[in-house]
Symmetry: C2
Subunit: 396 residues, 2 copies
């Protein structure tokens, strides 16, 4: 009686194996700066909490499988405000961005089909790919070019007759890279030529510090072949709400994803109500203030990183991650060292090792992902500690 082969292949969380070491370090009295996960410290909006605390129903009933109609109306207004021309009927509310990713993948690919992704990429795409028997074909992007897309030929070289879609994520997790409009237009041309869907993860839409965010739906040629996956987790610092959505104007894909939504009944009811309250009460200062806060954190983080001899990294334009190449040849070992054999003034840092974000074995061994989710001064302190750790590690 064996479990399934795919179940065996589902990758563990890349940071999970470090967790016991972090717990141990804390037990020894060491303060651990958590730069390893994208869990913002920003308060969830008061409008969200007010809605939760005054949720009026007596029976917590199933909601609509597509998502609560009124919430979808507010969502559509939010997208319209971002130059994304969609209606409430083109939105399916999902249980987090995670479910949106799964629905989109299932809508376009059968078992054995493949989807092009740019590595390094958000690890959890891989979990869903394995569960649904879809192959993710990685196209490498590099620290030397700020993790921007490689030349067209390199992308097309990976496309084969089982390729069904190209998956992009901008602003990017784990690299922070924001794709230029021209890059997404290039993706569109490739997709058109090879008759592919394009799936875009845009959960960090607002987190752009230079230039402007280009959405999939800003590119007219992508409107019929595009699927956007989204989430309120980062936008409203509501990771535990598990509210996302998937958007498409492709009627067939929409209907299929709606049927998937019916199979799982509905996304959480209370949090849709609360997310709607946030959208209804959103004022103009909300995002600028948060973005300013993250920009300060990014600048401080980048500035301190640049002081470490041998570090390679372009200043990323978005999200709240920096992927940096360190002068160490095995970041897995280094990340463990940080927690088991190092401290400075009773403090250390926890980072996400690069290999977890690559599908190609052997890549990312000198890279780490840093989530700048702590206040500026803490980020500076954390990166200074990281600098000392690199120094120590190199003289081991």
């Amino acid at each position: 009686m064996n479990i399934s082969k795919r179940a065996l292949r589902i990758p563990p969380s890349p940071i999970r194996k470090l967790v016991p070491y972090a717990i141990d370090a804390k037990k020894r009295g060491i303060e651990v700066y958590h730069l390893n996960i994208g869990q913002p410290d920003i308060a969830t909006p008061q409008s969200f909490w007010n809605a939760v605390h005054s949720y009026p129903a007596k029976v917590l009933a199933y909601g609509n499988s597509q998502g609560i109609a009124e919430y979808r109306e507010w969502l559509a207004k939010y997208y319209q405000g971002n130059g994304i021309d969609i209606t409430p009927d083109e939105i399916i509310v999902t249980t987090g961005g995670s479910e949106a990713v799964m629905f989109a993948m299932l809508a376009v690919a059968d078992s054995g089909d493949n989807i092009i992704v740019f590595e390094p990429f958000y690890t959890n795409y891989n979990g869903y790919a394995v569960m649904t028997d879809i192959e993710l074909i990685p196209v490498q992007t590099k620290p030397e070019t700020g993790y921007h897309l490689p030349p067209v030929e390199e992308i097309e070289a990976k496309i084969n007759d089982r390729t069904r879609a190209i998956f992009i994520c901008s602003p990017n997790n784990p690299t922070g890279t924001v794709l230029a409009r021209e890059e997404i237009e290039t993706v569109s041309r490739i997709a058109e030529k090879h008759n592919l869907f394009v799936i875009a993860d845009e959960v960090y839409r607002e987190f752009v510090y230079e230039g402007k965010h280009t959405s999939l739906f800003h590119i007219p040629s992508l409107i019929e072949r595009g699927i956007i996956v989204d989430s309120i987790s980062k936008r409203f610092s509501a990771c535990g709400a598990r509210i996302g959505c998937v958007i498409t104007k492709n009627k067939e894909a929409f209907d299929a994803m709606l049927r998937m939504g019916q199979a799982r009944l509905c996304p959480p009811t209370i949090e849709q109500y609360a997310a709607q309250a946030v959208l209804m009460q959103l004022d103009e200062k909300f995002f600028p203030e948060i973005i300013e806060e993250y920009r300060r954190r990014r600048d401080a983080t980048y500035e301190e990183l640049m002081k470490i001899p041998g570090v390679l990294c372009e200043k990323p334009a978005g999200a709240f991650y920096i992927m940096a190449k360190l002068p160490v040849d095995d970041v897995e070992k280094f990340a463990k060292f940080l927690l088991t054999d190092f401290q400075h003034d009773g403090k250390t840092v926890m980072v996400a090792p690069g290999p977890g974000f690559y599908a190609t074995k052997g890549l990312g061994k000198s890279e780490i992902r840093i989530a700048y989710v702590l206040e500026e001064e803490k980020m500076r302190d954390a990166i200074k500690i990281l600098a000392k750790a690199v120094d120590n590690f190199l003289t081991l």
Copy 2:
């Protein structure tokens, strides 16, 4: 650019096509008794609402992928209280029972493998099976035998070399049937002989009106090969909370499902906290009062059904459904007729047609599922209206 073949195959909700007719009927001023979905009218416990209304955090953060540790401790106590000997470390909290079903299926079966189910069965199993490319092989149960399991030979005849598990649901949706201990022991023997997992949907555990509920884990021989899927949706009338769990003592299956859990990050945070509050404050009268209420509804529903000439149905011992065979040869047509061409004193009823619960084409054409989720007097009135409708329909 086509969507995937499996996406095309995902079945729509069996009652969905009736929804527009129900909306239309209401627009015409007709009152519709909703016997078509298992949405209880019972209030969600006050302890749940108190916890939601006073949820203390400022940041709605990701929870543990396995579920909040303290909630799992209370869950383990709840299971112990039901004679199910498990620890918090053998539980993964899921986003509803739906996700628990998906995790369990994925843990045991690869693409092309199959799982034995007893039809009629809860339609949504099928949605997940299609998404994950698992075949559900139906073994028929019949109204004439109260939808109890057929002889061993009929079950074994369906098992082949790609069969990985037997899936049972007791108390059953849609039939209300409660499997006898001996039936589950039979399943255990078959599973042992053919080296299969056994997955049990026990979300209606408390809803038993005659005899006692037998859990998978009450059968010692099933402990190593058993996976329980569960949910608070019906138990605490919290369908919109999306909190379930999956339980197994099989270490390999557990680890695989935990990695699936990591891929989707976490189940909703607030509702776990609220569900824990319910468990902490549960008093001894809670279930007996609810069960008594449902028993009255069931008895009233059954009594009124039996007055309809030609109706065939055994009094079901559990859940809150009755599957009844009507003297009509096309219940899809009848269910539509109820909403479009019939009313009595300005009222009509909405039911779930039988074929939606069968995988075998042609079965269930005379059966309907009735959810007795309304108060006794309303149920009586609804079934009386149904009786008139049957009479009318037969004389069309």
